[in-house]
Amino acid sequence: MSVIPVAILTGFLGSGKTTILGYLLRQPEFSRTAVIINEFGEIGLDHELVEASEDSVIELTTGCLCCKVRTDLTQTLQGLLQRLDEDTSTPFDRIVIETSGLADPAPILHTLMTDSELAGRLVLGDVVTTIDAVTGAGTLEREEVSQKQVAIADRIVLTKLDLPGVAEPELRRRLAALNVGAPVLRAFRGRIDAPILFGTDFRDKQATSLEVHSWLAEEAQGHSHARHDADIKTYAVVRGEPIRAVTLTLFLETLAEHCGADLLRLKGIVNLVESPDRPAVIHGVQHVFHAPAWLERWPSNDRRSRIVFIARRIPQRWIEVLLDAIGAEVADVDARRASTTLVDCERR
């Protein structure tokens, strides 16, 4: 049974998500796509597979966002899979979730990354964020959720470029400050190259390798200039020495425990002591982390571990010292264990 990628289409109110979705669904390469819309009645999609999640904006803004969206989204996704299994729907091999314009997309990502009912059947695909080229800069200035939508994106799409009042260079600078690694694409009245938009499949090692190349470009800029926008910063932690797997685990656990929602996104390629030829690709959103994906080989001769952070009010220095301190303690324990084993052997 094949694993189905789930892409997220997000963006602030009126930023053109539905227009793009409407265009994409008319393209041949999107003919086998199921769509979940986070709001009822936003568009009359002429597509048999449209499933409307019962989450509303009001529900999403009360109580525990994760729990609210999880229950509903999980049920919707399970229903889609059941219909697919029972052969009562048109077959699909991709799902796109269009979020509400006011929604924080992170809980949706959490659901896809953690729900045991869905694990094995679905995998998180690309996160695409639309930005209105006319009003986007102002929206980013005012709306924290808009910053977050941009910060966690794999692709950013500028919309409404044909309208007067577009200040594209300024907007691009602002977007780069929030998320320097995500390619910025341009859509004209919803028209955009579909394969470019949702091109990555997290299971696909080759695609993952391509993603890594993108992150490395991000790291090169983010690391040098420590770009920032208000409280959100992008930076990279780079280590030349291979990292022990247990160090990485403790490091990620500590980040999850102490940073929570302030860790908007983490992506990295890691050289593990235990796997020198196959680097681990790690990927996390807030307090949730994917199990690592393993590349078949290093994408370049650069075998340093590089972890890119998009974080709110988390000092880079703390991240660096945390990794170093945990690494030193793990090495210390290993050395002591080796020493004890040696003494035991000599006693025998």
């Binding site: 796997s275 307090h287 988390i314 010292v321 945990i326």
Partner: protein
Amino acid sequence: MPIDLAHELLTQSLAAWRVVGSIRSEGDGVIVICGSHKDIQIARAPDDLIFRWIVTVDGRKRGAISLVAVLRQVREALDPGYAASRVRVAVSPLVPSP
């Protein structure tokens, strides 16, 4: 591991948690933190204990098996709004399957 590294980790941690406090190292390798009306001492545990660190908060001693555990105890003492996530993030498998 060098005590200086633990000292810097704790210093940076206070900044990351946005907790006001002062940190100093005593001559015997003990790190002392004062903040939020708490006095905290962090010392290496004796070799015959299973713990690596002993954290003393206002006179009450607790063992900590790692620096990660030290951080948790220090933050619980200094940051009343902190609720440690008990969810373990399983990064498995630790190595790729052959």
